[in-house]
């Protein structure tokens, strides 16, 4: 048994760890295993990728490319391939992943199972929108090929299906053409939420990528920095050499706390405000700003941290976000890594996909026990009233009724579950 954690480092339970390395042997491996769950890079925050006391089938050994056609941009690969490796391979040949999250250190299987989104949701939707075909292996040995046009019900259950419908072993992804690794970017400070929504609306047509950092604690009305970007052709401009830093130890106390947060945020806001404006940025620091700070999750100290990410419909977005920020500011807890972004007006592919039309707010909170949970309950109430939902890839604690109201297609989804697969989250929220 091996102690395994997720990115939030909130728990470290023992798991029976089984490494998958050969895609032709996965079937036999699952058949002989106790109930388990596929585990990729462990980059989700809560218990969605954990299965305490059960098995974890580690997929990072399934990291082979199978085929790539650089005239069409179709890529076939095993599910443990990292998005980073796809980006590095494809960009030099004129293609790029259409959708990536804030870290490229996740597997293809994880990206599908959580139906991850990026900064361009309003243009290109979520990861599942670009998967053409996937192979799922069930614990009873059944192999299911599905895609938007083949067994679409299985596809809809598996995209965003949290790994609970079977083990994804390979996928075919449609990449999109790109001129090179560079982006034309702009940082625009905003003083309050109203300005944020104006900026978001104005940017949707011209800018493919939009995201914002929000100061959740000082400044009163939700000031922040709006960042937008679009691909730009700069020919063969040489790529920068990335510097890698590492958070070498688990900080004995959270470095993000009441003493540091206000000054962090104020400094960051003013520094960036001063640097605001247009520039040319390489895709890696723009899309994945924290990937060069290895194990940054250690800065929250030994107790780990929660991430609270919700989406609420646009009509009530401003007031709901305002209310959440107010609760957070009042609590004094809260995070440096606070992200506010609008989603486009499109329906997600998966039955349990997170994105829905509206605005999403994501915040990190160091675990202060009772106090933190009390704050979450107040945030839940706001999300519930706004008819929003919480992102399962980030969650470690949402109440069952909020899950059920947030994900109305849950009842359909349950028909596709694999009885030999279970996760901490599925037991907590789905009863098994």
């Amino acid at each position: 048994m091996v102690a395994m954690s997720s990115w939030g480092r909130l728990s470290s339970h023992e798991h029976s760890v089984i490494t998958l390395g050969d895609r032709t042997r996965v079937k036999a491996c699952l058949k002989n295993s106790i109930p388990g769950l596929a585990y990729g890079m462990g980059r989700s925050y809560g218990d969605v990728c954990l299965n305490p006391q059960g098995a974890l089938w580690v997929t990072t050994g399934l990291d082979r490319f199978i085929a790539f056609d650089d005239s069409t941009g179709r890529l076939v690969c095993e599910a443990g391939v990292l998005l980073r490796d796809i980006q590095r391979l494809a960009i030099s040949r004129g293609w790029i992943l259409p959708v990536t999250p804030g870290t490229q250190l996740v597997t293809v299987g994880g990206a599908i199972a959580n139906d991850i989104h990026g900064k361009n949701h309003h243009v290109l939707g979520s990861f599942g929108d670009h998967v053409q075909d996937l192979t799922l292996i069930r614990t009873d040995g059944e192999i299911i090929h599905c895609g938007p046009n083949e067994r679409p019900d299985w596809f809809a259950a598996t995209v965003g299906g949290l790994g609970l419908t079977g083990v994804i072993v390979q996928a075919e992804i449609q990449l999109r053409p790109v001129a090179g690794p560079w982006l034309d970017t702009e940082t625009v400070p905003y003083a309050n939420l109203e300005e944020f929504f104006h900026l978001a609306d104005d940017s949707e047509v011209e800018w493919e990528h939009t995201v914002s950092w929000i100061d959740c604690i000082s400044g009163g009305g939700g000031r922040g920095l709006f960042m937008r970007g679009k691909p730009i052709d700069l020919g063969n401009r040489p790529e920068p050499k990335g510097r890698k830093l590492i958070m070498p130890i688990v900080s004995p106390v959270s470095l993000v706390n009441k003493l540091t947060l206000r000054s962090f945020n104020t400094t960051y806001y003013h520094l960036k405000k001063w640097q605001a404006g247009r520039s040319i940025t390489h895709y890696e620091p723009f899309f994945y700003p924290l990937d060069n700070l290895h194990q940054w999750n250690r800065m929250y100290g030994p107790r780990g941290f929660f991430q609270y990410q919700s989406v609420v419909p646009r009509e009530v977005g401003q007031s709901a976000v305002q209310a959440m920020l107010k609760e957070i500011a009042r609590s004094g807890d809260g995070s440096f890594l606070a992200v506010l972004k609008t989603f486009g007006n499109r329906q997600p592919v998966g039955m349990l996909s997170f994105p829905q039309p509206g605005v999403t707010l994501a915040l990190d909170f160091p675990d202060h026990g009772e106090r933190t949970h009390k704050l979450f309950e107040r945030l839940d109430a706001i999300v519930r009233e706004a008819r929003g939902r919480i992102y399962m890839a980030k969650d470690a604690r949402m109440p069952k009724e909020l899950f059920e109201s947030g994900y109305p297609r849950l009842v359909d989804f349950l028909n596709y579950r694999d009885p030999g697969i279970s996760s901490g989250l599925s037991r907590r929220l789905m009863g098994s």
């Binding site: 048994m1 091996v2 089984i18 390395g21 050969d22 199978i66 790539f68």
Partner: protein
């Protein structure tokens, strides 16, 4: 000129990572030799996607048959001098099984000891004629001192070590280099049961980087991760009265 690189036991996780690194360095001509043809082909396809400019051939061979080994190596070398040959295959047997079943014991000795030596011997013949090339053989830290937990495997790897030592002596005044690689326990499918037991294993890409670097430098012995050269020095020199009390 494209480098000509041959990998014996190309389906081994360490070898596969080395192949990726070499392919990334510069377009090469790569020949993958494996026991399981389909598996070798899967790795070849992956490398073809990663580096379309590298030409990749896969060859299936029986690793225990001296005639086949000779034929395969002759065939490879006939078509041009080899720049790098990496002999990477092996299997980690259960020590208990080796103790209880002589067939298993023999198999472990053959696969991990005799077979790599035969491959190396076949290559070195050609390399010496060309007076160039680097031959690298993967041994193990387990070959440095026999321990009760895996001495059959250790003995086979020890055989490889001693063989490499002699071969280095033979090649001392030639243009051919021999690199002996001694990885510590590495996170690969071969060590799944160690990982399951909670052992701390080295990352395979780290080990592969050390190997590729060591081969490029023509180092005599490459311990990877490097800390293992220190650990094994201590273990080799532990007096027996201490050593015998240790459960390793």
């Amino acid at each position: 000129m494209k480098k000509k690189i041959v990998i014996i036991g190309a389906t081994s996780a360490i070898a596969e990572q080395c192949a990726r690194l070499w392919a990334k360095e510069s377009p090469a001509e790569m020949i993958l030799v494996g026991r399981d043809h389909e598996k070798t082909e899967r790795i070849a396809s992956d490398l073809r996607v990663r580096t379309p400019k590298t030409t990749i051939t896969s060859i299936q061979a029986d690793f225990l048959d001296p005639d086949q080994i000779q034929a395969v190596v002759d065939q490879i070398c006939k078509e041009g001098d080899v720049d790098i040959a990496l002999v990477a295959h092996g299997s980690l047997p259960s020590q208990k099984e080796c103790q209880n079943d002589l067939k298993k014991c023999r198999e472990a000795l053959d696969v991990n000891g005799v077979s790599p030596v035969l491959f190396a011997e076949a290559f070195v013949m050609h390399m010496q004629k060309a007076d160039r090339g680097t031959l690298a053989v993967i041994g193990s830290v387990a070959g440095d001192r026999g321990r009760k937990s895996n001495y059959v495997y250790g003995a086979a790897k020890g055989l490889v070590s001693r063989y490499a030592q002699g071969l280095q002596h033979r090649l001392a005044h030639t243009g051919v280099k021999l690199v002996l690689i001694k990885p510590g326990p590495t996170d690969t499918p071969m060590t799944v049961h160690l990982k399951q037991a909670g052992a701390k294993l080295a990352a395979v890409d780290h080990v592969a980087r050390d190997i590729v670097h060591g081969i490029a430098q023509g180092q005599q012995v490459v311990y990877t991760p490097r800390i293992w050269s220190l650990i094994m020095m201590v273990i080799r020199h532990l007096p027996y009265f201490v050593f015998k009390r240790m459960d390793i």
